[in-house]
């Protein structure tokens, strides 16, 4: 029989009440009868339009990052494209944001909201760049800050990349709570929220997503200004779905309605995200399929009642690349363009190198992020950590990479190829949840919006 920890159960039973207090947002208001909720109302009801978001970000050294044409990488990609093919690759250097990543855009709004509502501190659960972003902006606003990380395994070994992010959070004066592997992180997080009464800077709140809309907006406006048209494609590294949702909404808001929104994740198929053993056998702690797929097929698994990150509403195409290809592209960016950036932020760049070859040379594909690099968060520590954990590193065909067993660096540029993820399969998985539900016409309408298909397609996919 299972021994239940009383504190644990008591706290989990009070989950909804604690969460409600910590985001200052009544999600009930947006619930519809049946399975759905009013997503657009929730997004537009928070008093932030694009101009206001731009203003807040500008005051905080966030946004307006350089957009650079990667001429050498474009030239490189064209070597493997048919004549007339090989799109121009542009890159948004998001590492230039305060705290070193696009996550500052999300944090700027969360911190602004926390301050506005009078919270004295802010708390976020993240092992990624978001922690540093919240910590930096909280420091600027004079708010206390706690960052909760999944950090180490049962042998007390940590991912170097996560240790670096902890250091960075502490550099901004934040408290960092480091936890071992497991979904009970949510319990510890909830306990801290309850104890401190701090604002929950959830990555999945409307603020966490609306902050990224400026990124899509800037891309549309800047490409229009430079080239006289909107880009044919924007490629976004996809994990929890927020980066993709926010960027796509920004593009649309700026009028770039025909720009394809492509998601890209590192292929970590076969590794279990809650496994103590697997934890230190991956070389990417985010931007991978282990988050990208589950959050696409069930967005509301997040830490708020209704996630504002809903990638299937916006994703036109979803691709993955192997770990070795991302390291390859990280080196390429440094060697050919003089930009040394963190590997995890180059996931979408690796995919763009291959995707550009399938597009016309007059087309434009924009890679919408980079991230800072440093000790722990760099090809060398990440690869040497892998090697220490028994992962074989070799040159070959990336398609043969087995996550957790080896890392295959492409033998040369011609081997760097993206793989498609079937979005229809994701939509089927999404719909599985509703197999035994008696769906009303309003429910179907909601599902059509969620999956961007018509009712007959919804019914087909549910068969």
């Amino acid at each position: 029989m299972k021994i239940m920890n009383n504190t644990y159960q008591n706290l989990m039973n009070r989950k909804n009440e604690i969460m409600k207090k910590s985001v200052g947002l009544d999600y009930e208001k947006y619930e519809l009868e049946g399975i759905g909720f009013d997503f657009e109302l929730m997004m537009n009801d928070q008093g932030y339009n694009i101009e206001k978001i731009k203003q807040i970000q500008k005051e905080n050294m966030v946004g307006n990052t350089p957009l650079i044409e990667l001429k050498n990488i474009t030239y490189y990609a064209r070597k493997y494209a048919k004549p007339g093919f090989g799109a121009r690759i542009f890159l948004k250097d998001e590492a230039a944001n305060i705290s070193g990543s696009f996550k500052a855009r999300r944090a700027a709004l969360s911190v602004n909201q926390a301050k506005k509502l009078g919270y004295k501190g802010i708390i976020a659960a993240t092992s990624g760049n978001y922690g540093a972003a919240v910590a930096a902006l909280a420091a600027k606003e004079g708010l206390e800050c706690i960052i909760v990380q999944e950090c180490f395994d049962s042998k007390n070994i940590s991912q170097p990349e996560i240790l670096e992010k902890a250091r960075k959070c502490e550099a901004y004066g934040a408290e960092v709570v480091q936890l071992s592997v497991g979904p009970e992180l949510f319990y510890s997080f909830l306990k801290l929220v309850d104890e401190t009464g701090y604002f929950n800077a959830s990555l999945y709140s409307p603020y966490g997503i609306k902050g990224i809309e400026t990124l899509g907006h800037e891309i549309a406006e800047e490409i229009m200004e430079k080239v006289g048209k909107f880009p044919e494609a924007v490629i976004v590294t996809n994990a929890g779905g927020g980066n993709l949702t926010g960027t796509a909404r920004g593009l649309k808001d700026a009028g770039a309605l025909d720009t394809l929104v492509i998601g890209a994740s590192v292929n970590l198929y076969g590794l279990h995200m809650a496994s103590d053993y697997d934890f230190n056998r991956k070389s990417f702690t985010t931007g991978h399929t282990g988050f990208g797929i589950p959050f696409a097929v069930f967005p509301d698994r997040s830490d708020v009642p209704r996630s504002a990150a809903r990638p299937l509403r916006y994703m036109d195409k979803y691709v993955m690349v192997n770990q070795g290809s991302v390291f390859y592209m990280t080196e390429t960016l440094a060697i050919l363009e003089g930009m040394e950036r963190g590997p995890a932020g180059n996931t979408s760049l690796a995919a763009a190198f291959s995707l550009a070859q399938t597009m016309k040379e007059t087309d434009i594909i924009v890679v919408q992020e980079t991230e800072y690099t440093g000790a722990g968060k760099h090809s060398l520590p990440q690869l040497s950590f892998a090697r220490k954990n028994g992962i074989e590193i070799k040159f070959g065909n990336p398609i043969d990479e087995i996550p957790g067993k080896n890392i295959i660096l492409p033998k040369n540029g011609s081997y760097l190829k993206h793989q498609d993820i079937d979005i229809n399969e994701l939509k089927k998985s999404y719909l599985k949840r509703f197999k035994d539900v008696d769906l009303s016409s309003n429910d179907y309408k909601y599902l059509c919006e969620e999956l961007r298909i018509d009712i007959s397609e919804v019914k087909d996919l549910m068969k």
Partner: protein
């Protein structure tokens, strides 16, 4: 002995294996759920004592004393020679010297 007021790192077991959540992979089920946290030591103590600390945000935490003045030990790791090969491949690719 470590003096009261020293900045330290403690470790605490939050959930024993039998108290952990359902639906965990077998390997994770077998091990406790633990926390590391840093703060100022509230009393003179020895390494591995159960101690109280005050964190940077002013909260109290209790756990086993693991380290005084905890350093950042992450680095650029061991050198990986394959990185040099990678750079060489990229340069030769660009010059059109890789034929396969």
């Amino acid at each position: 002995m470590i003096d009261k007021g020293t900045y330290v790192r403690i470790r605490k077991t939050i959930l024993k294996p039998e108290e952990r959540s359902d639906n965990l992979p077998e390997d994770t089920k077998k091990v406790p759920f633990k926390m590391w946290i840093k703060g100022y030591l509230m009393e003179d103590s020895d390494l591995f004592d159960i101690v109280n600390i005050k964190t940077i945000t002013g909260r109290s935490e209790t756990g086993r004393l693991k380290e005084a003045n905890p350093p950042y030990k992450h680095s650029y790791g061991d050198f990986i020679p394959e990185i040099l090969t990678l750079r060489d491949i990229i340069k030769r690719d660009i010059r059109g010297e890789n034929h396969e």
